[in-house]
Symmetry: C2
Subunit: 294 residues, 2 copies
């Protein structure tokens, strides 16, 4: 049980965490700060936070748990703004989709406060963004990856594990490097492809007519192309080496499919489609493999 | 009201049509044929069809409405097998996802029976295939594209329109060429990309570990990669010129995104992401644009 949660960035992720912690009865009071005063105001009006703070630093003052839920490129500036009030017993977490850059920022900025910081990535989200989309059940049943630093306080890693578990999450630990390689493959690349695909269609002269004919397959395939552009600008740039490497692999595979089409090679094409179709049919979300990367 | 529906190909599409027609009280009896006898047997056991036919021709005998629901590459052979029993008053439709090849096959094969054939493409489906996945509500609320031939009987076009409307569909008419260009863009290309993307991940040495970490974005983005490989082999090959042209456009757009990443051009990258995100947020399935291609 915490006395006060300080949320920096009252968007979808931060707002949902506040609502979830309240719903679970794990916090007495939520203080929130957002860069845009209207967001902080809306968060208060919707009951997502109890008290609006005038600055990130004031959201940390008196808090025993802090969630930094800003676009990843804003993490370093946020650390700089709040570090003076991060007491060694405070649990400070983030929710960034990339971890090497966040960990590097923490190493550069946090100094002796670094023990308080537990880098987190909850595998949850939806295409809507903003505090209006905040949802107490967003994290329920999801995985959360922790990528602790060598200096992170072991007791706070345990505390972070306990909090996410109490929200119904499955908690895993990985290195920031393995995290970023894996999420370039299963999250960042699909977002890049979905954005690029939607742009491909929308920018054709017949694009509007085409879009009016699109069905449920298109709907699901492009859902993530409606994600927040500022968030995804930061994620793609922060993890660009891994993302570009995965995109290269993808282009090679697409070229293989195209070649078989060009050649009318029905048999080899079906074999490739079949392998993917079977693999995808067997896949289940959140089902852990035997040998997980550490 | 029809006396007898003949279904050739008792899979997801054919089975769902039979169930929907029965549910709407539009048919007294359903006779079904599938290439695999075990499928026909399962269709009968599940109540999807009333009578199992020993051949495609026998499924047409005595039917006043016929649905050809086979992979598009099997359409021509099916026409050849049944044409002798297609009476001028019989309504014969297909459900193929490509239309130029189906219309060409009809022109080659159907001879004086061609007036009976109304080429149809219902924009419906799910990733499961086979008669077990048949669903009386599959077509409800969906669009159906008709691409009639010059020789198609006008009264049968009206009858086809009435049947699909009675199942809750919105019926549109287009040329086969405009149909195939549009669906290369909004359906065939996304399937190709989803298959190629899933293969990219699954064929990496760490692929299994990566897949165990994938979340809801990945789930929706790859749903269509679980589609039936034989069906999609045929569709991609039948419409390969349009599909390859769309894939080329996509690769150009992806290269533009990659270049902005390489250059760390955050502003231009965000502008591209923003355009796609806004476009996708405003898109609604089945919302017709003002100037539809004919």
């Amino acid at each position: 049980m915490f006395n006060q949660l300080g949320v920096i960035g009252c968007g979808l992720m931060g707002g949902s965490f506040a609502l979830a912690l309240k719903k679970a009865g794990l916090v007495k009071r939520v203080v929130g700060y957002s860069k845009s005063p209207s967001t902080t105001e809306t968060a208060k009006r919707l009951g997502v936070i109890d008290i609006a703070a005038e600055s990130a630093l004031l959201a940390v003052a008196g808090s025993d748990i802090v969630l930094v839920a800003v676009p990843v490129a804003a993490t370093e500036a946020t650390f700089r703004a709040v570090k003076h009030l991060v007491d060694p017993k405070v649990l400070m977490m983030d929710v960034g989709s990339t971890k090497c850059d966040v960990v590097d920022a923490a190493q550069r900025v946090l100094g002796k406060q670094i023990g308080s910081f537990v880098p987190c990535h909850p595998i949850a989200g939806k295409e809507q963004s903003g505090v209006q989309a905040a949802d107490a059940t967003l994290y329920q049943g999801r995985q959360v990856i922790l990528t602790p630093l060598p200096q992170t306080d072991a007791a706070l890693i345990q505390k972070a594990t306990d909090v996410w578990s109490a929200l119904g999450c499955q908690v895993l630990k990985m290195t920031p490097q393995n995290h970023d390689a894996a999420f370039a493959a299963v999250s960042h690349l699909p977002h890049l492809l979905a954005y690029a695909y939607f742009s491909t269609i929308a920018n054709q002269s017949a694009g509007r007519d085409f879009l009016s004919l699109a069905g449920p397959g298109f709907r699901d395939f492009t859902r993530i192309a409606a994600s927040d552009p500022a968030i995804w600008r930061d994620i793609l740039l922060a993890n660009k080496q891994e993302v570009l490497a995965q995109s290269q692999r993808f282009r090679d595979m697409l070229a293989r499919f195209e070649q078989l089409l060009q050649q009318d090679n029905a048999q080899a094409l079906e074999a490739l489609l079949q392998q993917a179709s079977e693999g995808r049919s067997q896949w289940q979300m959140g089902q852990l493999s035997g040998n997980r990367p550490r």
